[in-house]
């Protein structure tokens, strides 16, 4: 034999997952959008982590209950309160940091839940076809036409103020149909491809085909969708909070906007209005950029190095 029989596998060979990760990272590094997006997200993540610091320094910095003995109304930024205080004298900066925490929690949990649901249902419907497909897609249709916000408002009216995790669950339950439609479409077209047939001929079980062949080809799309879901989840939560139906026990950027508006300080206190608004926009943008970069990482064919005319 002209080649070496090498039974000593390198670390990278031994842990294929690690290998894929490192490979993916080196590709990701080359994408400008991805780097910007990731940087922004790291900043927001740091903000979220730092949200624990202000209350630890002094109870007056607690975003919900912090009371500054000297300030009891909306005031401009000063040395003690870098972004000023809201109408109750609470520190805006600590609210902003807490809001970052909530944004991540809500955004990512809701997105992950809706993607997991959407991908599983979409793949099952597409692969199984016939009766199951019809059943699942009719269900998806029904949910898709329901206006999310309205239903949530109704639920809030019935059950009173909603807990943040309930909100997350509801967002996820309303958002999976969109994902599943797209994933089902992809699955349908993949099902006919020769490499799936080749796997069947080799003896692969349905399970194996769905999870080892269809899923990896569907995942790039799912990840891309996830970034949209995160943005839409954050915005939905913000909208709910803004309309007054958020969880009153949590401070989110949407809540902050609601307070600004309700207390009539929208034009008087730009230091209060602008930070949460800018944060919502930026975090949405950064997830989007991340999604575009992930697209390239996950789909080997899109990698720039290998493209010919």
């Amino acid at each position: 034999m002209a080649f070496k029989q090498n039974n000593n596998m390198t670390t990278r060979e031994r842990y294929p997952l690690l290998n894929s990760f490192l490979e993916g990272w080196s590709i990701f590094k080359q994408n400008l959008l991805g780097k910007i997006g990731l940087t922004l997200l790291i900043i927001f993540a740091l903000m979220a982590l730092c949200s624990y610091i202000p209350p630890w320094i002094s109870p007056m910095y607690n975003p919900m209950t912090g009371v500054d003995p000297e300030i009891t109304s909306c005031s401009a930024p000063c040395l003690r309160h870098w972004l000023g205080t809201d109408f109750m004298g609470r520190d805006i900066l600590s609210q902003l940091l807490a809001g970052a925490r909530i944004a991540f929690m809500v955004g990512i949990s809701a997105a992950v839940m809706s993607i997991v649901l959407g991908v599983s249902i979409g793949m099952t419907a597409g692969y199984m076809g016939k009766f199951i497909d019809t059943l699942l897609m009719r269900l998806a249709d029904m949910i898709m036409v329901m206006p999310t916000l309205l239903v949530v408002l109704l639920l809030a009216a019935v059950f009173g103020q909603l807990n943040i995790w309930t909100i997350v669950l509801i967002i996820a339950l309303f958002r999976w149909p969109g994902v599943s439609r797209i994933i089902r479409g992809q699955t349908l077209s993949l099902k006919q491809r020769p490499f799936i047939e080749a796997a069947k001929v080799a003896g692969a079980s349905h399970f194996r085909i769905i999870f080892m062949h269809i899923m990896p080809n569907v995942l790039p799309l799912a990840f891309l969708f996830m970034t949209f879901r995160v943005t839409s989840a954050i915005i939905t939560e913000a909208a709910l909070a803004f309309l007054g139906f958020g969880d009153p026990g949590t401070v989110s950027w949407g809540m902050m906007l609601q307070w600004v508006w309700k207390t009539g300080n929208m034009f008087q206190a730009p230091y209060w209005l602008l930070p949460p608004g800018i944060c919502i926009s930026l975090i949405t943008l950064s997830f989007y950029m991340l999604g575009r970069a992930m697209d390239e990482v996950l789909d080997p064919r899109l990698r720039k190095e290998d493209q010919t005319d």
Partner: protein, 317 residues
Amino acid sequence: MTLLEVENVSIGYNTKKGYVKAVEGVSFSLEEGGSLGFVGESGCGKTTIGMALMGLLPPNGSVSEGRILFDGEDTLKMSDEEIRKIRWREMAMIFQAAMNALNPVQRVGNQIAEAILVHDPSIGKEEAMGQVEALFDLVGIPRDRLRDYPHQYSGGMKQRAIIAMALACHPKLIIADEPTTALDVIVQDQILGEIKDLQKEFNLSIIFISHDISIVADMCKDIGVMYAGQLVEFGPREEVFESPAHPYTKALLSSFPTVTGKKSDLIPIPGETPNLVIPPAGCRFCDRCSGPGPSCKTETPEWVETGPGHKTLCCRC
């Protein structure tokens, strides 16, 4: 008289991987009523030449040197407007994968009529349709299929419709790029026969591009063999087919199985085609040649006459 004269033409594409020299230093000429075939495998540049002749190179492609003289005029120096006048009226192309060249949402008859009207707006729609009917008779499509949509046509019929479109403005030169590749062998045979008949009837000049050397030998008086962007052999079909001079031509001929004659071993050509961004110095076929000479790798090969009108680009010969 000479209809087409191509002098030392080089064409390249700007791609993400660099500048691909798709065609290098190709020269040939075509008489009126003559037929010339280009044969080669994928990536050899034959389609690129066809596109360049029609002025249809994609935005990232350009002719970097040489002249293309059609009826005495250099098409490379013409403006877009002038080329558009020539295109379709003087020279027409039957594209590869012509199946997809028909608009699926328009009736076939109308599409061809439109092509006629675009180039001669003076005639009315009625007269244009009359011409389309005549064309259909010519290519063998029943007249009652005029109002059908492309998906209602069989593969062979679609190809015939494309040929009708190419002939619509009575061009002098037709460039056929793999017109029968996607068709079954019996339909292919019929279409090739029809092209030959049309050529005789209208004294058309034809450039026929194919990967199948037996089709080209059947259809054309002269054959040009292309490899890696270069013309490596050129000559009358009898000469090239029966006494191939270039090692690539010989190898190509022996990699096609045949139904007649003695059954011989198919000898595949080892290796892969060279990178055209950085083409190898010396002979481009050297790495895969069965018997390279001492200077083949470093010296650029020159044209060698091996017979009447038959020349090859090879150091060894």
